[in-house]
Symmetry: C2
Subunit: 404 residues, 2 copies
């Protein structure tokens, strides 16, 4: 089966929200959907059976930057692509590597991260002056030269190289190479950066066409363009307009947002992007962000937060986030999940507290299953409510309870 | 169902070897069997589904010492026993706590561990004099006072206390409280120690009878006596004779052995112990040890080695142990297991090398599944070969290939 996107139903309440199916050569993704991240070709602490059966994940997203450095794209190719390497049977994504190059490289000076409150940004601004010299990535109009976080060796990504690597990684859906800027960068810099991103988008498309099917899987891959523009309305709209006219199979929305305007920025973009193509919000995954994204026309999400916070004992519940290290859970015999159909219904909070205190790996496994299931379920519930025309009520009631 | 042991078939080649079924209130164990260890009520890095489905483990053994300290036997009792706490549906064992009290306490001075080569023992002897003052466990005829490895707090185990704790932990099979001596201790000390172990065995039986069914599970538990005596033939035989006459449901063989005489020591004991009761070799689990144990009449084994070495990249194969950190595996596209029916057939050695190098938890999970499956399969194969009358040939051929 080739790649295609089918809109099953548009929301009656929000003009941009919709429910659909992304068809890929390795299976379908029912949208809106949360895509678990398998950075280095493993969803941290989980087997693929757990991702499929207990989480209900329909696809996995791996990071090009990380797989390129470790184990290397040639070894992934020898396996027949990263899905085969990790033994995952369903659809897959790879990101462009851009975000990591800039966040692990230049961002050591610039503070690129996916989302931040205004307060966090102020704190970073204060720190900025002292760390700005530590650039590990140097950008020119042709590409980026950067140092490996693993061994400090020097590497170079261009749009063509990113496409070549991603063709070897062999995901069903992959992304054009883009420049991910700091939300602190002035508008003049952002303008330069999106000019580069747009030029790189065209070069990515050309190189993808030249390369043809994935050399690892023999399958046609779908290329998504990445809309940038920081927090600037004019730039986001310009980026959506320029990229929307190019022959991409779908779109990613990249870059950093302040927490306050994430929904607004997504709206600016999705009002312009072609309606019949899927839209992925890159690296965003707090429950509120997901609901605002869905409201404003996002189809798929990925984020490392649910598994990262899980490894630190933090768990999503309908009543907000809790931390299982807290001594109040020592004697709490209630199940980790209230829902009997969830895998984590079988474990008490007291047992989880014990596993975390004893530094047992199973703590991370169970907590990761739980948090991923929470976000997958949030998207599935949103899907059901959009179909029924009750998404607005669902969203408001969820937010009221979660953020009470 | 109450506890019972059924011998299905005796070996025609080795007078002590046999095949049987241990029936417990929570299911059957087909012997000889390797029992995965779940020290703190979790088989490290595995879910219970993985232990059951991918490993084929029929029972789990937890450590009384560890669960008593963390999360505490009262919390385990609140869950209805450690099996319910960890969501394990099958049969369970707890050890007496004796080994850990002595190995983590006094052994800081005395060098108690499960098995050692003569060379290791000589090294320890050299070190002994300098560390002998660091006793964290003090023994008297009534019991042992020891310091917690977690917080240094002082605790006391007596036979009665061990029974009370193990009744709360609620395993189907549990062990009498015993003194585990260092293989370095002189015969005079070993004589004192087994006198205590025998006195404690009787007190354990009396306290078990007084307590009745487990207060956590409401089920009758089976109590195994623990034969001690170090590497001394006279003491091992004396211990088997004394304990063999007591009303235990089965026997554990405890204490340390030198690698060279493990099989011999087990033989001394099993020639004396009542034939119709199951025999567990405590904490022993190298492939050769298991085969020698089976040959000499052992029915069940437990050991932390398969999961401990797995977390360090070491894997059992039919051709011996390999370490997946080794660079030769970077490009090795062969499956972790040759056997297609094994879960770890789905993963290449190259992928495993990558996961270990990248410090991914999945590496420990897959390697632990593999090593436990290896030992469970070794016991299952031994079972089949005893039934067919071909165990000797199987054992010799396995050893020849494994230790080539």
């Amino acid at each position: 089966m080739l790649f295609s996107f089918e809109i099953e139903k548009k929301s009656e309440e929000f003009p941009l929200a919709r429910v659909g199916i992304i068809h890929t050569p390795h299976g379908d993704i029912h949208t809106p959907a949360f895509i678990p991240v398998g950075t280095k070709a493993t969803v941290k602490a989980l087997t693929v059976e757990e991702v499929k059966k207990y989480v209900g994940g329909e696809a996995v997203l791996a990071n090009t930057y990380h797989l390129y450095l470790q184990p290397g794209d040639e070894i992934v190719k020898k396996h027949g692509g990263f899905a085969k390497m990790m033994n995952w049977q369903g659809p897959t994504f790879t990101d462009s590597g851009g975000f990591q190059v800039f966040s692990l490289g230049q961002a050591l000076g610039h503070g690129v991260s996916k989302i931040a409150t205004s307060e966090e940004i102020s704190q970073r601004e204060a720190k900025e002056e002292t760390t700005n010299h530590e650039k590990l990535a140097v950008i020119d109009d042709d590409g980026v030269t950067f140092k490996s976080v693993i061994d400090g060796s020097t590497h170079r990504f261009t749009p063509e190289i990113s496409m070549q690597i991603q063709h070897k990684l062999g995901a069903d859906i992959f992304f054009a190479f883009d420049e991910c800027t700091s939300p602190l960068a002035p508008i003049e810099y952002q303008q330069e950066a999106i000019a580069r991103t747009h030029s790189w988008a065209k070069r990515s498309l050309d190189e993808h066409k030249r390369l043809g099917v994935s050399e690892s899987t023999g399958k046609q891959q779908a290329l998504f363009g990445v809309v940038q523009g920081g927090a600037y309305e004019t730039l986001r709209k310009e980026s959506a307009t320029v990229l929307g006219k190019l022959d991409f199979d779908g779109y990613g929305i990249g870059g950093s947002f302040t927490k306050e305007d994430m929904g607004t920025a997504v709206k600016w973009v999705n009002e312009i992007l072609p309606e019949n193509k899927p839209r992925h919000l890159l690296g965003i995954g707090e429950p509120l962000d997901i609901l605002l994204g869905i409201e404003n026309g996002i189809d798929t999400f990925d984020c490392v937060a649910p598994t990262r916070i899980a490894r630190n004992g933090a768990i999503y519940t309908k009543d907000g986030r809790i931390n299982l290290y807290n001594a109040i859970f020592k004697n709490d015999m209630s199940p980790l999940s209230d829902d009997e159909s969830w895998y984590t219904h079988g474990y008490t909070k007291s047992y989880m507290h014990h596993l975390f205190k004893a530094d047992e790996m199973l703590a991370s496994t169970l907590a990761s299953i739980h948090n991923l299931k929470f976000l997958v379920t949030l998207c599935n519930d949103a899907r059901e409510h959009i179909i029924k025309g009750t998404f607005k009520e669902f969203k408001e009631s969820f937010i009221k309870q979660y953020y009470a």
